[in-house]
């Protein structure tokens, strides 16, 4: 058996075109040995769910800086659930007010990373989820 590589989809939903954060995260995860698929900007939540399934990822990381996270993030989770892919873990990042985080978590987004998060913290999260499953 060869090494089981961990695949992560980094996605930009909605009309927000600020992709530096998403690209930074994609590269940081690549440098830590993950296989990262990047969707590019302006994806619909429905398309992100379809892509996550076709790419057979374990995680979907959503990046948003426009303020529409309360609308768009839960829709990705709902679309995955609709397709029977609720095992795919969704996390998010961007300029997200602390007050919104409990709502997003109640909608099935496992973790929200706000500005100032280190890549170490992100990897700890990923490894923690993987350890829970093993």
């Amino acid at each position: 058996m060869e090494k089981q590589e961990i695949r992560i989809l980094i996605a930009k939903v909605g009309l927000d075109g600020h992709d530096r954060g998403a690209k930074f995260i994609a590269q940081a995860l690549r440098d830590r040995g993950y296989e990262v698929i990047y969707t590019g900007i302006r994806q619909t939540p429905e398309d992100v769910a379809k892509i996550a399934i076709q790419e057979d990822v374990s995680f979907v990381g959503l990046s948003l800086l426009s303020g529409a996270h309360n609308q768009l993030f839960p829709r990705v989770v709902a679309e995955l659930k609709k397709a029977g892919a609720q095992d795919i873990v969704v996390f998010g990042g961007g300029v997200i007010p602390a007050d919104d985080i409990p709502f997003l978590q109640s909608q099935g987004i496992r973790e929200i990373f706000t500005p100032g998060t280190t890549t170490d913290q992100m990897e700890e999260f990923i490894q923690r989820i993987l350890a829970e499953r093993a």
Binding site: M1, E2, K3, Q4, E5, R7, A26, Q27, L29, R30, D31, R32, G33, Y34, E35, V36, I37, Y38, T39, G40, Q43, T44, E46, D47, K50, I51, I53, Q54, E55, D56, A83, G84, A85
Partner: protein, 325 residues
């Protein structure tokens, strides 16, 4: 994993994605597991290869737009390189191919990491291709990593290899070299509005006129097409050309010749894959026993080969399916 086989037989979309992961992660087990799956019809397999940034993914996107209008079902495998340091990969072909609101039953795109494999594809590509064919896609588009001169593996998987070139990458001597330039069944000169595109086309024409290979019988003579993937120029011509190939008698004759080489190579790779994984596993054990600083690598290799042969015979699952004993 009997469930996966049942889900594959039911052609569930998620099962295909999972099966490809299994092909990547466990080449030995998956080759055995999927051996019962036989496609009902042949897919037309088109390869896209060429230097990084030449427009392979963008051309595929343009073709996907056409395919969606015509109800053609298309599977795409796009390979990007893996890091020699972290082993990770940034798979960024797909972002150029995304079609808003696509139907996942009609268009299936999968990004693969090369996982250290040289040659332009990845260790799991051959099996992934067979899985897509089993799902009955009309076309399968195979995109290699951005290549240089020596990555010719795509010729052993694709019915038609299109080599994507862009102007300004060297003189005619570069075009005359062995390797990549010889495997083209179709040359696409992309970014054709850039200076030097016509020069490149005439260099390719001269190359084809001079090579004795193309004068032989049953040899396919590549066409040369100019495109601009972002502007959409030449895409209609490319689409029509590709649609016409499978029914072309010369092309069919060429496929029959090509097929033998492909079966040889794919079988060879399947065997190599098996022993590559087993060797890696065994080497860990043997190296552990012998000490990591064993001086004689050839002695260590003989030890591994001996262990391989000894343990291979013991494994009952490796008996061929049609063996009567």
């Amino acid at each position: 994993m009997p469930n996966l086989i049942e889900e594959l037989q039911a052609k569930q979309p998620r099962a295909l994605a999972r099966a490809i992961s299994l092909a990547e992660n466990d080449p030995i087990g998956s080759a055995e597991l999927f051996s019962s799956l036989h496609p009902l019809q042949k897919s037309f397999k088109i390869g896209f290869t060429g230097p990084p940034g030449s427009g392979k993914s963008s051309l595929i996107r343009d073709l996907l737009v056409h395919a969606c209008r015509q109800d053609l079902r298309v599977g795409v495998i796009a390979v990007d390189p893996s890091s020699p340091f972290s082993g990770g990969a940034l798979l960024g072909d797909r972002l150029r191919m995304n079609l808003t609101g696509f139907d996942p039953e009609q268009v299936f795109i999968r990004s693969l990491s090369a996982r250290g494999h040289l040659g332009g594809l990845s260790p799991g590509t051959i099996l992934s291709l067979h899985l897509l064919e089993y799902y009955g896609f009309d076309w399968i588009l195979l995109e290699t990593v951005g290549v240089g001169q020596a990555e010719v593996e795509i010729m052993y998987l694709a019915d038609l290899v299109s080599v994507i070139l862009v102007p300004g990458m060297g003189d005619e001597i570069q075009a005359m070299k062995s390797g990549l330039m010889e495997i083209a069944d179709l040359f696409i000169v992309n970014k054709c509005h850039r200076p030097g595109a016509d020069t490149l086309v005439s260099e390719l024409e001269a190359l084809l006129a001079m090579a004795p290979r193309y004068k032989e019988e049953d040899v396919w003579r590549p066409q040369i097409l100019k495109t601009d993937a972002l502007e959409g120029d030449g895409i209609e011509d490319l689409w029509q050309l590709l649609l016409g190939y499978p029914a072309n008698v010369d092309f069919q004759r060429y496929q029959a010749v090509k097929r033998r080489r492909q079966i040889y190579y794919q079988t060879f790779q399947s065997v190599i894959n098996h022993f590559r994984v087993r060797t890696a596993d065994l080497l860990k054990l043997v190296a552990l026993e012998e000490g990591a600083d064993a001086a004689d690598v050839h002695a260590l290799a003989r030890r591994v080969i001996w262990e391989l042969c000894r343990t291979e015979r013991r494994s009952p699952s490796d008996k061929p399916a049609d063996s009567s004993s």
